[in-house]
Amino acid sequence: MRNVFIMSLFTFREALVRKVFIFFLGISAFILIGLAAAFSLIDTEAITQFANPEGKDKMIREIISSLQLIIVTPLAGLCLLLSIFASSSFIPNMLEKGNIDLLLSKPVSRTQLMLGKYFGGILVVFVNIAFLVVGVWSIISLKFSYWEFNFLFLIVIITFTFAVLYALIVFFGITTRSSIPGMMIAYLIYLVLSPVLLLGKDKIHLLTESEIIRTLIKGLYYIVPKTSELMGSISLSLVMKAEINEFRPIISSFIFLIVIMIYSGYLFNKKNF
């Protein structure tokens, strides 16, 4: 466990050197400052004065949650895109000749090395997202003097979405020793496959009569990580209602993550360097 922690910390250090993470932190900081400045000009009483007294609390809660989601969702999406790009080279860098030899000569198991890199990457995204989400949440909550903690669940769900995609990046990093395939597959799933399959599984009967294609689309839907639902309906329901209305996307994505990581570990333990 100690070795995994050491590797994670040094991966975090590696990430800080990459301009992308600093760039995102910079964007987040800029937006938070802008948000604070804009909110200092808004009169919250004027917004809520039209609500009847019984429904006032509910209305404030909805305004706050919507505002937070409107600000954070696109930024979280951007953070995931940048994180995939920046973290895709962690594993290939580790596997470079001269570097991996040194690491493997130390009393550290290969699994610990891989997990260290994996958790290090996740830690970076967690810090980035937490900074953004906690920042937005604090500013809005302070302004309305209303503290709704559900919004903080977003940190967990966005980090989890990245963890699923990063497992794929780790897998392709180990098998190809290159950052490009993992990055491309992660983008493909996040931007194309997951949203298309989510849409397709319900609407496929309108597009084709073929039972084979319908089964294929549905099969793919169950296999491919459901990043669209994680970032969409599940985030929304957590923030607005503090509940998860459907666990299937979380469970199937988690199973995908575990299977990919176990297989990556198996391959890494067998690999010649």
Partner: protein, 313 residues
């Protein structure tokens, strides 16, 4: 003395795509290295030296055969607490300073913080990098990288140290300093496995040498065993000796004149040498010195490699 490294019938075959062309990096290699010695592994480029070290450290896996270090299979990675390694062309994260590199590898080696600080200070002083410890390694020269590599290999006070071309890129003074460090380590009972193509250097510090060519161990022994020419001697006579008396002796022996007073002698065995000495002394010719002829390690290396190449052809 116990064997620290045991290698038994080790074979490593690298398969190319679709298995069309297999590369035999190591073939049926057996070798033992004793504790407290410096073992030098020599061989031309592509002989399999680095592959052997990588297998010993569990970085690469053998196709067949087995290896043991401290009587333990390397699959037990905890054994690496007792091992240090300086790879050829090692790379460190360029954004770390020399000191941070040492901290990172020290922590991975399981060294606790207070002890680690002290150890890093000592080692950076030893390799003369104390002044550069806060400089990022991307600014280090090749020689400085080698020194840092050596320091990190010694962090955990290993009992066995693998060094792959440790003096590569190091200036002559630095090489001498590294040699001295290695000899000091040996005097402390450490075992050193040295991969190098700098034969003169290996000759200076190793106890035993193995010569590897195309994956096969073609010779192994002490430097003395490999370099001495058993039946060849150089005899120098005293200037007061009468030349006639010496010339008379040539008849019965394989004695070749090198210069006025120096002769080269080839004998079948030591008895023949002593017979000649008796005869010379009987004629009251004064012998100034008798030196057994030696090859340099380089001579032996080149002739063995050529011999092996001939056999292959």
């Amino acid at each position: 003395m116990t064997d620290v490294i045991e290698i038994h019938k080790l074979t490593k075959i690298y398969s190319s795509s679709f298995g069309k062309k297999n590369i035999h990096a190591l073939i049926d290699l057996s070798l033992n290295v004793r504790a407290g010695t410096i073992f030098g592994l020599l061989g031309p480029n592509g002989a399999g030296k680095t592959t052997l070290v990588k297998i010993l450290l569990g970085i690469t896996f053998p196709t067949s055969g087995w290896t043991k270090i401290f009587n333990t299979a390397i699959s037990d990675y905890t054994i690496k607490k007792r091992i240090g390694y300086l790879p050829e062309n090692h790379k460190y994260p360029p954004y770390l300073t020399g000191e941070e590199v040492m901290i990172f590898f020290g922590k991975l080696s399981g060294i606790k913080k207070p002890e680690l600080r002290q150890k890093i200070k000592e080692l950076l002083e030893l390799v003369k990098l104390e002044k550069w410890k806060r400089t990022k390694v991307k600014a280090y020269s090749k020689g400085m990288m080698q020194r840092l590599g050596l320091a990190q290999a010694l962090l955990n006070e290993p009992e066995l140290i693998f060094l792959d071309e440790p003096t590569d890129g190091v200036d002559p003074i630095g090489r001498k300093e590294i040699r001295d460090i290695l000899l000091a380590l040996k005097s402390k009972g450490k075992t050193i496995f040295l991969n190098s193509h700098l034969l003169s250097e290996v000759e200076l510090i190793t106890d035993r040498v193995g010569i590897l060519n195309k994956g096969r161990l073609i010779r192994e022994g002490t430097v003395k065993e490999l370099t001495e020419r058993k039946e060849e001697y150089l005899i120098t006579f005293d200037p007061d000796s009468t030349l006639m008396s010496i010339e008379d002796l040539i008849n019965g022996f394989n004695l070749t004149k090198i210069s006025e007073l120096v002769y080269s002698l080839k004998v079948a065995d030591i008895t023949e040498l002593n017979r000649l000495i008796d005869m010379i002394r009987k004629k009251e010719v004064m012998i100034k010195e008798i030196i057994q002829q030696k090859n340099t390690l380089e001579d032996i290396f080149i002739s063995l490699i050529k011999e092996a190449e001939g056999e292959v052809k």
